[in-house]
């Protein structure tokens, strides 16, 4: 990724849009933050590196009515495609600046690698991360401190773009391996799975960061986790309610989640929320041969049907 | 076009009474450039006696051979004898349909059958995996005197759920193959009526009556030769023709050739090589060959299944 090229591309686009959304350096060396550029000098702040972890496409539906340019990685571009599939954005209002991506960092993983010592600086070179703290310097292969989604990334290149910055890349790992983690989890017994989720979801503080960061949570302000009509959930700090909420989130994303990983990234309690949606996506692929965010002409599987479903078989009672 | 990498399971009859069938198939395959791969140390499929006595035993005897093919790593196996084909395919089908049956059968075997082998009759293999176009290619000679009534017998196409080949009520695959090598075929109604099958030994009376019907219908339709794809049919129609004549007061004298022998003749193999001399009824001048006279190519007859697909 090359920040100069990106800035150049963004500046070219800027006059024709109201805002260009990119990322700039955040409050410490480990963080980047979204940057809403409306002036050329704002664009000068744009960076392009594995620190750019945000899925900026998430902001698009909330900017309805504006002309927006957005910088997206391969995975983020699936969000754009899914928005188009669901009619949540108008193609003509969005300019997509695509950036091929060879992986981003997971802030949590980097911190763990250096035992949470305050970071002095971080730099990247050929998929190697160099992290300096006041006690040490570590060189780490990027994929070792990248989020899970990067290690099996099938879409390093944007699937949709108006401007492409950089060279296209090859997918990492085989397509079959994408769901290996899910399959492995499924080797556990039902009891183990239940315990696992009771423990991890038990940490949930219902801050709704996962929901609010989720690009495809269309309800946002009308989310049934908080409404009284309909009254699906109480406000109690109860394991059942937490389980219910996360199942609602996952089920509402069935056949829609583009696996951008924002829910998991933003969770302050490090709950592996992406797994829930990934599991359902795996089913969507097997049952309906559908992968979200790939083809803007497709329709998400929960809003269509076939009279004769090829893969659904009548369940027998034992 | 389907895969040609299939094993070839000749079956016991083709070592004995049906040796001419085996010889002619091997020559035809050679002419078509298809390698014949015989599973090592195959055993009898069990045939009618096995399933007549017990399904489980029948399943296991057949499945042992499927396991051999499985070991060869091939996609499937073709069997020239319909009885072998039916035994192998029925075992495969019932094991695929019922896990309980599969488990029971595998309990009897040394090596379990995994259910991956595609079983076809050799007729089907030649018709579908090689195809009429390929079959026509090696033709060198014509058989101008021959008017063939193809006889399919009972279990090549039946029951359709298991056989999964051709139209069970009006099969045309053999007709199309024989036409493809330039030999005239005649249509008649009894091409899939039973000839009496294995009752030749214990209930000759039945075979005589049934065979008599088949032969008379074919002759009435103008045939001077019958083509078969089954050693047992060949035996009933040819070897027992004299018994039929004696019992029914008829005087049939119609040669009964394997379809592969007819194909072989047009490919230029000699009657002797093809084992035609092993037949009882002498084909006489019917097997005299002549130069190929070009004629308007007839469209292959459509089976019901093929017609459906086309529409």
């Amino acid at each position: 990724m090359n920040a100069q090229e990106l800035r150049k591309a963004a500046k070219e686009v800027l006059p024709s849009v109201d805002v260009v959304i990119g990322q700039r350096a955040g409050f410490d060396p480990l963080h980047a933050e979204p940057c809403f550029a409306t002036k050329p000098e704002d664009v000068d702040d744009f960076i392009a590196s594995p620190l750019c972890v945000h899925n900026l496409a998430s902001y698009l539906p909330s900017l309805k009515g504006k002309k927006v340019a957005v910088v997206v990685k391969g995975c983020d571009s699936r969000t754009v495609v899914q928005f188009l599939e669901e009619g949540l954005i108008k193609r003509e209002n969005v300019t997509v600046i695509g950036v091929p991506c060879s992986g981003i960092i997971s802030v949590k993983k980097v911190l763990e690698r250096v035992s949470h010592e305050p970071i002095q600086s971080i730099s990247f070179d050929n998929e190697t991360v160099t992290v300096k703290t006041n006690k040490r310097e570590e060189k780490i292969p990027l994929l070792e401190v990248a989020p899970g989604k990067c290690t099996t990334c099938q879409y390093p290149n944007p699937l949709i773009f108006d401007v492409l910055v950089g060279q296209k890349l090859e997918p990492r790992g085989s397509a079959e391996a994408v769901y290996d983690d899910i399959r492995e989890f499924e080797t556990k017994s039902l009891e183990e799975r239940k315990e696992y989720w009771e423990k991890t979801l038990g940490r949930c503080i219902r801050c709704y960061a996962c929901r609010n960061a989720c690009p495809l949570c269309v309800c946002q302000e009308s989310c049934i986790a908080e409404t009284r009509d309909p009254h699906w959930m109480s406000q109690k700090d109860d394991p059942k309610e937490k389980m219910t909420f996360h199942m609602i989130h996952a089920i509402h994303l069935a056949g829609r989640c583009t696996e951008c990983g924002e829910c998991e990234r933003v969770c302050p309690m490090d709950i592996p929320l992406g797994q829930l949606k990934k599991k359902i996506n795996m089913g969507m692929k097997e049952l309906y041969d559908y992968v979200p965010g790939i083809n803007p002409e497709e329709k998400p599987p929960m809003y269509v049907f076939k009279v004769e479903e090829d893969k659904i078989e009548e369940h027998e009672l034992s | 076009m389907a895969d040609k990498d299939y094993a070839y399971y000749p079956g016991c009859s083709l070592e004995g009474t049906g040796s001419a069938y085996d010889a002619s198939i091997r020559l035809v395959m050679q002419a078509l450039g298809v390698e014949v791969k015989e599973p090592h140390d195959w055993s009898c499929c069990g045939s009618t006696p096995a399933h007549a006595v017990d399904h489980l035993l029948a399943g296991a005897l057949a499945a042992r051979n499927l396991v051999l093919v499985q070991k060869m790593g091939l996609k499937g196996v073709s069997a020239p004898c319909p009885s072998c084909f039916s035994a192998l395919k029925t075992a495969h089908y019932r094991m695929a349909k019922s896990k309980a049956f599969k488990d029971e059968v595998n309990e009897l075997l040394d090596v379990p059958y995994e259910g991956t082998v595609d079983v076809r009759s050799t007729l089907q293999f030649i018709y579908e995996n090689i195809g009429v176009e390929e079959v026509a290619r090696p033709v060198k000679l014509a058989l101008p005197n021959m008017k063939v009534a193809p006889y399919y017998g009972c279990i090549l196409n039946r029951p359709p759920e298991i056989a999964q080949f051709d139209d069970p009520e009006n099969p045309v695959s053999m007709d199309n193959l024989i036409s493809a090598v330039g030999v005239e075929v005649v249509d008649y109604a009894f091409k899939m009526e039973c000839c009496g099958a294995a009752f030749g030994v214990p209930r000759k009376d039945m075979v005589n009556k049934l065979t008599h019907k088949v032969l008379s219908m074919a002759i009435e339709a103008g045939a001077n030769c019958i083509a078969v794809a089954c050693p047992l049919c060949q035996q009933n129609l040819d070897l027992r023709q004299a018994q039929v004549n004696a019992a029914m007061g008829s005087s049939f004298n119609i040669p009964v050739l394997y379809f592969s022998q007819i194909m072989g003749l047009t490919y230029g193999f000699t009657p002797k090589e093809l084992g035609i001399d092993k037949g009882v009824v002498d084909p006489g001048n019917l097997i005299e060959t002549g130069p190929i006279v070009p004629k308007e190519v007839e469209k292959p007859k459509k089976t019901k299944a093929a017609a459906k697909e086309a529409s």
């Binding site: 309800c219 009308s222 809003y303 | 109604a189």
Partner: protein, 653 residues
């Protein structure tokens, strides 16, 4: 909130295995229940009066009746509470009969189950909201799809009732299957002689607008207000000019066109009038055979036509009609006999279908009523009829009985003898089904007076032997195989749904069964209504039936239409979806999934886009409600909160 609960004994039906007194006692403990009582027959007049009295006396504002299935008496009790001044939706039923007392054997468990059912009903009724119907104006025109005898009857009855009728017929003439029949059973009336006048009535009725050779392209709208697009297929003949003189047909040089009216018994001309009594009696060109189309030159008909009606450039035309009600009488199809390989269907010329035989018998048919074998045009002496050809045959996917074959076979056997006194007919049958008035006598007559030999058994194979067709079947009464050497074999091939029936159903939003016959609202009590209000059924589109039944249904459907159109305004069912526009986020997923296109996009002031339900179109299925992620669209009377109240009442303890 004051809920009143009435627990019915239903004589001993409920009280026999449920301790109703205990159910009442426990119910009284439920908060919100102000009154609960058990009573012998709650649905009786005194039972209903008791509810009304209690509402007044105890100031009840919600009512639960625990009794039989709501599918039985919900409407009854809704009216009761309405008469007592409550909104009819402040009412719930707990099914403690069909779902409880009749199926469980343990009195204690049944009683407990009944108590829980009541509890859930109480929980729901407390969430119930008053709902009110709204009314809308009705367009009093009627669309009839299909110009067979059923459709014509419906059209005539509606038109006689004073309503404009739009009749759409797919083929070039009305008349349907009945127009092809020679005689009708059991009276041996000439079919076209009794149908012809009806066809003329259709043509001449001031209020009937006939679209022949046309098909329904699109149906939009809802009961009382449908917009119909009709495709008028190109005939290449200007029907406003065509006089039906038939000269073109006489001179047309293309002589081997397929005659669909005669089911291919003989060829026809590329330009033709289907039959002499056709209504409208107009010519049409079949472009697959017309030389002007296939070879690019000919033009004979154009030259010869005295009114210059021929127009080779004609194209399909779409017209729009507005109606308030629809009668679907789209008829039936016949099984393709090629599916019966063992009968040589399609391979042997002397194995024909019964409708083809009907055309052979018909004096105005292609053979002028002479029975001849297709193969050599000789008169057959031995005719074998095979009934249940495909019918009642699971293996080819027609598990049902085709209803009228038994009768027409008897008729055809009788007519065969009439035409050829020295002939012999045989009928293979599995059962003789002749339950109509005079029907069984008729099949007896075929055997007793006309000497038809009935053989009880199915035919296994038909094959040629010389000039004969050998029919090999079983005579199960003799217990063996029988063979008949026939000159002609007639197959009573199964009645199937009309080709394209599912597609038409989908346009109309009506349901069809696995055999593609249309499904009525209730097989006994609403036999001509569909689940889409305003759409009615008549004739064989709903299932195989004979002429009197079809005519009867045509009239019945017309009666339903007339009663509906007797009102100027209709009321909608208020149990439909409603959008909370504050909560709606405008994702419009509901619009995508609504099976009725009842939801549209609406832009509010300020630019916010939300979903909007067209009240009259919504059928109340609730797919939108389960689609909406934020619960902003709620199916009234089955809202999330109402169902959750039931779930919670049953699960939280």
């Amino acid at each position: 909130m004051k809920v009143g609960v009435f627990i019915c004994h239903c004589g001993n039906n409920i009280a026999g295995t449920v301790d109703v007194a205990r159910v009442a006692e426990e119910t009284r403990k439920i908060p919100g229940v102000a009154y609960a009582i058990n009573y012998m027959y709650t649905c009786s007049e005194p039972g209903q009066d008791q509810i009304k009295d209690a509402i007044k006396k105890y100031d009840l504002d919600r009512i639960v009746v625990a009794a039989c299935s709501p599918r039985m008496h919900e409407l009854t009790f809704r009216r009761t509470v309405e008469k007592a001044g409550l909104n009819r939706y402040y009412f719930e039923m707990a099914n403690i009969r069909e779902h409880c007392s009749w199926i469980g054997e343990d009195r204690e468990l049944n009683t407990n189950k009944a108590m829980e059912a009541v509890r859930a009903a109480v929980a729901k009724v407390m969430q119930d909201k008053p709902l009110y119907s709204s009314s809308f104006a009705v367009n009093k025109r009627v669309l009839v799809i299909g110009g067979g005898v059923a459709g014509m009857q419906a059209a005539l009855d509606c038109a006689d009732g004073g309503h404009e009728v739009v009749l759409v017929e797919k083929s070039p003439s009305v008349g349907g299957m009945m127009a092809r029949l020679d005689k009708t059973f059991p009276t041996i009336d000439c079919s076209i002689c009794i149908l012809g006048p009806k066809m003329v009535d259709v043509a001449q009725h001031d209020l009937i607008k006939l679209y022949a050779y046309s098909e329904v392209e699109e149906v939009k709208g809802y009961v009382g207000n449908y917009q119909i697009k009709i495709r008028k297929k190109a005939t290449y003949v200007d029907w406003t000019k065509c006089t039906g003189c038939g000269e073109c047909m006489e001179k047309c040089p293309s002589k081997d066109a397929y005659d669909s009216f005669n089911f291919g018994v003989a060829p026809t001309k590329a330009i033709n009038i289907p039959f002499p009594q056709a209504i409208p009696k107009k010519a049409k060109i079949d472009p697959t055979y017309c030389r002007q189309f296939t070879k690019g030159k000919c033009g004979v008909c154009a030259k010869i036509c005295p009114t210059k009606a021929i127009n080779y450039e004609m194209e399909d035309e779409i017209v729009t009609e507005e109606v308030g009600a629809i009668v679907v009488a789209s008829g039936y199809g016949l099984l393709d006999i090629e599916k019966m390989g063992e009968y040589g269907g399609g391979r042997y010329p002397d194995v024909i279908t019964a409708i083809q035989y009907e055309r052979l018998l018909n004096a105005s048919g292609p053979t002028s009523g002479h029975i001849v074998r297709p193969s050599d045009h000789e008169e057959p002496k031995t005719v074998v009829f095979v009934s249940c050809c495909g019918s009642r045959d699971k293996s080819i996917g027609v598990p049902y009985c085709s209803n009228f074959c038994c009768m027409y076979i008897a008729k055809q056997a009788i007519l065969t003898k009439d035409h050829m006194p020295d002939s012999q007919s045989y009928v293979f049958y599995m059962d003789i089904r002749s339950p109509g008035k005079g029907y069984d006598e008729f099949t007896r007559r075929a055997q007793e007076e006309y000497g038809t030999k009935y053989i009880r058994g199915r035919v296994s194979r038909i094959f040629p032997k010389g000039k004969k067709m050998v029919v090999r079947g079983a005579d199960t009464l003799l217990g063996t195989t029988v063979e008949i050497e026939a000159d002609l074999v007639v197959l009573a091939n199964a009645v199937t749904a009309a080709p394209g029936a599912p597609q038409l159903a989908e346009k109309l939003h009506i349901s069809y069964d696995t055999n593609a016959f249309y499904v009525e609202s209730h097989p006994k009590l609403r036999p001509v209504e569909t689940n889409t209000s305003g759409v009615f059924l008549a004739g064989c589109a709903q299932g195989p039936k004979d002429i009197p039944a079809s005519v009867g249904q045509g009239s019945a459907a017309a009666a339903k239409v007339l009663s509906m159109l007797s009102k100027d305004f209709l009321e909608n069912d208020p149990a439909i979806a409603q959008v909370n526009q504050n909560a709606c986020v405008g994702c419009l997923k509901c619009v995508k999934t609504c099976p009725f296109q009842a939801i549209v996009e609406e832009e509010l002031r300020g630019g916010k886009v939300v979903a909007k339900v067209i009240q009259t179109v919504c059928a109340g299925c609730g797919v939108c409600t389960s689609t909406c992620p934020c619960g902003a669209i709620q199916l009234q009377h089955f809202t999330d909160n109402q169902l959750l109240a039931e779930v919670n009442a049953l699960c939280l303890s």
